[in-house]
C-alpha cells in the first residue's frame, strides 16, 4: 500500500512538472500574470509529491519490505538501520529518486528565496526546472521504478554492496547530487535569460549565490569521495582518475570557472555569452557524468549500477537538454553585446586566464575519460589512459593556475599599472622565491624536483593573499587598527572578498598536501608474524596478531597493532578484513592514526600460511589531511561569500514590480 502511494506520488509529480514546464513560461512570454504566479505553488507542490515518494521508499527499507524489488535487491534484515536508510540511494533507482528530490528542493528554494526577483525571471527559471524534472521523472517511471513489486516475496534481501556500508559513503552521494543538481539552478537561470534575451549584470548577480552554493556542495561531495576511497579501498590513495571520479570532477572544474566568470559578468558586464555557455556546460557535464556512470559505456570500479537501456534514455535526455540549450544559445547569444572593454593588465584578463586553464583541464579530463571510446571509434588502436597520463596533465596545468591565482585578485578591474602590482606583490614574490631556494636544498626536497615547486607555489598563494588583504585594509585606512578594521569589513560587504581569500588559501593548503604526500609518503609491504615489530618513518609497529570478530552482517578478521614513537606507545590500531554474509568481495577496513602533519595507516592484506602470519601494508602519509582540509577551506570560502549581505541588498534593490510587467511584454 505505502509503495503504491509512493508510486502514485511520483506520477502526480510528473503531472505537476508538466504543468510547471508549460504555464509559467507561456505566461512569461504572453504577459499572463496569473500563469506566471502559478510557478511558485507548483514548485512547492513538486517538492511535496517527491518528498512523499521518498518517504515511502525510506519506509519500505526500514520495514524491510522485500515485496518491493528494489528493497530486496539493496537491503537485508541484518543491515543496521543507518545503512538501511543510506541503502535507499545505494542503487540506481533510489539514487535517481534522491536526485529528483534534491532537484525539487532546489526548485522550492528558488521559489521561496526569490521574492525580490522579477516575476518573469522566476516563472521562466521554475519552468526550465520543470522541464528537467519531467525528464528525470519519466526516466524513473519508464525504466527505473523504485516501487516495482516482486512476487513471490523473498524471505531475505540481497544486501547492499559492502563497499557502500560505510558512513563516508552514506553521505557522499547526497552531497555530490546536491552539487550536480544545484548546477541545474544556474542552468535554469541561464536558459531563462536566453529565452528572455536579457543577459545582464542583474542576471549574473541572481545566479551567483545559487551557483556558489551548488559548487560548495560539489566540493564537499568530491572531498568526501576522496576521503572514503583513502580509508576504504585500503591502498591509501586519495584520487584514482577513475571515470566516476572524473565525472564529478568535470562539473566541478567548469563550475569553478563559472563562479569566476559570473564575477566578471556581474561587475563589468563582460564575458556574458561565455558565462552563459559555462552555466550550460556545468549542468551538461553533470548529466554526462550521470550518463557515464549509469550506462556502462565505460567500466569502472565505482559503477554499481549499469544498464545500456537506461543509458539510451539518459543519452536521449542529454541530447534534448544540452542540444536544446546549445541551440538556444546559438540563436540568442549573437545578439548579446560583448560588454565592457578591458586592457591587458586587468582583473578581467586574469579571470580569463583562470577560465581558459579550467576549461582546458576539463577538456583534457573529458578526453582522457572518453579516450578508450574515441580510439575505438576511429580505429586508432587500443588505448587505456591511465593514472600517469592524468597526473602529467594535472602537473602541466596546475602550476600556471597557481601563479595566476596569486596575481589575479591583486589586479584592478579594467586597467591597472604593472608598477602598482609590483609594489604590492614584490615581497610576496621574494618570499616565495626564498621558499623555492630553501626547499630546493637536498636536505628538504630529498631530491624530488616537485617539492620546491609545490611549496613555493603554496607560499606564493599565501603571501600574495596576505599582500592583497593588506592592500584592501590600507585602502580602507585600517592598517593601524588591523583587528577592528577586519571585523568591520567582515560585518559589511567584505565577506565575499574574504570568502575568496579563504578559498584561495584552501588551494595553497591543498597544494602543500598533494606535494608532501606524493613525494614523502613511505610505505612498507611486509609479512609479519604475531609478536613481530616493523619500523617505518621513526615509528615502530608491533603486530599482536589477528582474530575473528563477528559484526552485525559480516565476519571480520581484526588485526591488533601497537604503534610506538621511541619508547612511548602512541596508539593502538585495529585494521579489519571483512567478509559480508550477503556475499561479494571481502572488504578492507584500514586502521588510521590521523594527525594534522601525518597519518599512520595500516591495512591487512592476506593471511599467509597457517601460523597467524599476515601480509600487511604500513603507510606513513605526511600532510595527507591537508588535501581535504584544503577542500574544506574552499567550501568554507564559498559559504562566506554567499553570506555577503551584498546579495540580500542586491535583491532588495531589484524589487521593481513595475519593471516586471514591462519585461514581460518585451
Amino acid at each position: 500500500m505505502v509503495p503504491e502511494l509512493g508510486h502514485f506520488a511520483l506520477i502526480l509529480a510528473l503531472l505537476l512538472a508538466s504543468v510547471q514546464a508549460i504555464f509559467p513560461l507561456a505566461g512569461s512570454l504572453s504577459g499572463n500574470r496569473a500563469w506566471m504566479t502559478m510557478a511558485r505553488p507548483l514548485a512547492f507542490g513538486q517538492l511535496t509529491m517527491i518528498a512523499i515518494a521518498f518517504a515511502a521508499l525510506v519506509q519500505a527499507f526500514l520495514t524491510s519490505d522485500f515485496s518491493v524489488l528494489y528493497v530486496a535487491e539493496q537491503s537485508n534484515t541484518l543491515l543496521p538501520d543507518i545503512y538501511k536508510v543510506s541503502a535507499v540511494w545505494g542503487g540506481h533507482e533510489g539514487s535517481l529518486l534522491l536526485w529528483v528530490l534534491f532537484m525539487a528542493c532546489w526548485g522550492a528554494a528558488v521559489a521561496a528565496l526569490s521574492r525580490n526577483l522579477p516575476l518573469t525571471v522566476v516563472a521562466r527559471v521554475i519552468s526550465v526546472q520543470g522541464m528537467i524534472a519531467i525528464g528525470f521523472l519519466l526516466f524513473m517511471l519508464l525504466t527505473s521504478n523504485p516501487f516495482e513489486r516482486l512476487f513471490p516475496v523473498p524471505q531475505e534481501g540481497r544486501d547492499l554492496n559492502p563497499l557502500l556500508q560505510d558512513p563516508g559513503l552514506a553521505i557522499h552521494p547526497p552531497m555530490l547530487y546536491m552539487g550536480y543538481v544545484g548546477f541545474s539552478v544556474a542552468f535554469a537561470f541561464a536558459v531563462a535569460a536566453l529565452i528572455g534575451g536579457r543577459l545582464d549584470a542583474a542576471w549574473a548577480r541572481w545566479s551567483r549565490p545559487w551557483t556558489t552554493v551548488a559548487w560548495v556542495f560539489l566540493t564537499i561531495g568530491i572531498m568526501l569521495g576522496s576521503w572514503w576511497a583513502y580509508y576504504e579501498l585500503g591502498w591509501g590513495g586519495w584520487w584514482f582518475w577513475d571515470p566516476v571520479e572524473n565525472a564529478s570532477l568535470m562539473p566541478w572544474l567548469v563550475g569553478t570557472a563559472l563562479i569566476h566568470s559570473l564575477a566578471v559578468t556581474e561587475k563589468r558586464a563582460a564575458f556574458k555569452s561565455w558565462t552563459v555557455l559555462l552555466a550550460i556546460c556545468a549542468f551538461s557535464l553533470s548529466l554526462l557524468g550521470t550518463f557515464l556512470v549509469r550506462s556502462g559505456v565505460l567500466t569502472s570500479v565505482h559503477a554499481f549500477a549499469t544498464d545500456p537501456a537506461r543509458g539510451l534514455f539518459i543519452l536521449l535526455f542529454l541530447c534534448v537538454v544540452v542540444g536544446g540549450s546549445l541551440a538556444l544559445y546559438a540563436w540568442r547569444a549573437p545578439e548579446v553585446s560583448d560588454g565592457g572593454r578591458f586592457d591587458f593588465v586587468s582583473r578581467e584578463t586574469s579571470l580569463l586566464a583562470n577560465n581558459l586553464l579550467f576549461v582546458a583541464f576539463t577538456v583534457l579530463v573529458l578526453f582522457g575519460t572518453l579516450a578508450p571510446l574515441i580510439y575505438e571509434a576511429f580505429d586508432w588502436g587500443k588505448i587505456s589512459v591511465g593514472f600517469p597520463w592524468f597526473n602529467k596533465m594535472f602537473l602541466a596545468l596546475a602550476p600556471f593556475l597557481a601563479l595566476v591565482l596569486g596575481v589575479g585578485p591583486a589586479v584592478r578591474w579594467k586597467h591597472d599599472e604593472p608598477m602598482r602590482l609590483v609594489k604590492t606583490l614584490w615581497w610576496a614574490l621574494a618570499l616565495s622565491i626564498g621558499v623555492l631556494a630553501v626547499s630546493y636544498l637536498p636536505a628538504f626536497s630529498g631530491g624530488h624536483a616537485w617539492v620546491p615547486v609545490g611549496l613555493a607555489l603554496a607560499a606564493w598563494l599565501l603571501f600574495s593573499h596576505v599582500a592583497i588583504v593588506r592592500e584592501r585594509l590600507k585602502n580602507k585606512g585600517g592598517l593601524t587598527k588591523l583587528g577592528p578594521a577586519l571585523v568591520a569589513d567582515l560585518r559589511g560587504s567584505g565577506r565575499s572578498f574574504y570568502g575568496m581569500v579563504v578559498a584561495h588559501l584552501g588551494v595553497a593548503v591543498f597544494i602543500v598536501g598533494v606535494t608532501m604526500v606524493s613525494n614523502f609518503q613511505l610505505e612498507e609491504d611486509v609479512r609479519m608474524s604475531p609478536g613481530d615489530s616493523q619500523a617505518l618513518a621513526g615509528y615502530r609497529f608491533e603486530f599482536l596478531g589477528a582474530q575473528a570478530v563477528p559484526g552485525p552482517n559480516y565476519m571480520a578478521q581484526r588485526g591488533h597493532f601497537k604503534v610506538y614513537r621511541g619508547e612511548r606507545q602512541i596508539d593502538e590500531l585495529h585494521p579489519e578484513k571483512r567478509a559480508y554474509l550477503g556475499g561479494g568481495m571481502p572488504m578492507t577496513e584500514a586502521a588510521i592514526d590521523p594527525g594534522l602533519f601525518r597519518d599512520i595507516y595500516v591495512s591487512l592484506g592476506e593471511p599467509v600460511g597457517d601460523t597467524g602470519d599476515w601480509a600487511l601494508r604500513l603507510y606513513y602519509k605526511p600532510f595527507v589531511r591537508w588535501i581535504w582540509l584544503g577542500a574544506i577551506l574552499m567550501a568554507l570560502g564559498g559559504v562566506l561569500a554567499v553570506s555577503d549581505p551584498r546579495y540580500r541588498m542586491a535583491r532588495a534593490s531589484a524589487r521593481k514590480p513595475a519593471a516586471d510587467t514591462a519585461a514581460a511584454r518585451a
Binding site: 550550460i280 559505456v297 587500443k382
Partner: protein, 181 residues
C-alpha cells in the same frame, strides 16, 4: 561579419553533436559484452620476458595443454586491485593456470604489488609497451581471456572478475572446457 559571428556561436552545438554521436556509438559497443574478434581463434604468437625473471620467457606455447585464464593487469589500475582478491581465491583451484599479462606497467611497481598482496599467477608476461596487448586486442585493464587446452581463445571478460562473474560465467565455461578434454 555578422554572419561569421553567428556561426561562432554554433560551435558548442557542433562539438556536442560530435560528442553525442560518439556516445550513441559507444552505447552500441557495450565494452562488457562486445565479443573479441579473436574468440574461436588461436592465441596470437608472442614471446615476452616474465616479470619475475627477465631471462625467462612466456610464449604462446605456455598456453597449450592446460586451460588458462589470461589476466591483463597493471599496478596503476584500481579495478585490478579490487579483482586481485578474487584471483587469489581462484589460484587455489588447481584445474587451470592463471597467466598474468602485466600491461603498460613498471616492473618494480608490479613486483611490489605482488609481494604485498600475494601472487595468484603461475606465470606473468611483462608487456610495458603494449606490444602483445595490441595483438590480443586489449582494451583496458583488467581483462581476462579464457584459453582452452588447444590454445584457442574461447572467451574474453572485460572488467574485474568478482564472485558473480566467476560463478555465473567463467566457472561454467571452465567446467565445459574441462569436459571437452
Amino acid at each position: 561579419m555578422a554572419m561569421s559571428k553567428s556561426v561562432r556561436y554554433l560551435i558548442p552545438l557542433v562539438i556536442f553533436g560530435a560528442l553525442a554521436g560518439l556516445l550513441v556509438w559507444g552505447l552500441g559497443q557495450d565494452p562488457r559484452e562486445v565479443p573479441s574478434p579473436l574468440i574461436g581463434k588461436p592465441v596470437p604468437a608472442f614471446s615476452l620476458p616474465t616479470l619475475e625473471d627477465p631471462n625467462r620467457t612466456l610464449s604462446d606455447a605456455d598456453l597449450k595443454g592446460k586451460i588458462s585464464l589470461v589476466n591483463v593487469w597493471a599496478s596503476w589500475c584500481s579495478s585490478c586491485r579490487a579483482e586481485h582478491q578474487s584471483l587469489m581465491a581462484l589460484s587455489e583451484l588447481r584445474d587451470f593456470q592463471i597467466i598474468g599479462l602485466n600491461w603498460k606497467d613498471e616492473a618494480a611497481a608490479a613486483r611490489r604489488v605482488l609481494s604485498m598482496t600475494g601472487n595468484p599467477y603461475d606465470l606473468i608476461g611483462y608487456d610495458p609497451d603494449n606490444t602483445v596487448g595490441i595483438d590480443w586486442g586489449v582494451y583496458g585493464a583488467p581483462e581476462t581471456f579464457v584459453v582452452d587446452r588447444q590454445g584457442i581463445i574461447r572467451y574474453k571478460h572485460i572488467g574485474p572478475i568478482d564472485r558473480t562473474v566467476w560463478e555465473e560465467t567463467l566457472s561454467p565455461l571452465v567446467e565445459r572446457l574441462r569436459a571437452e578434454g
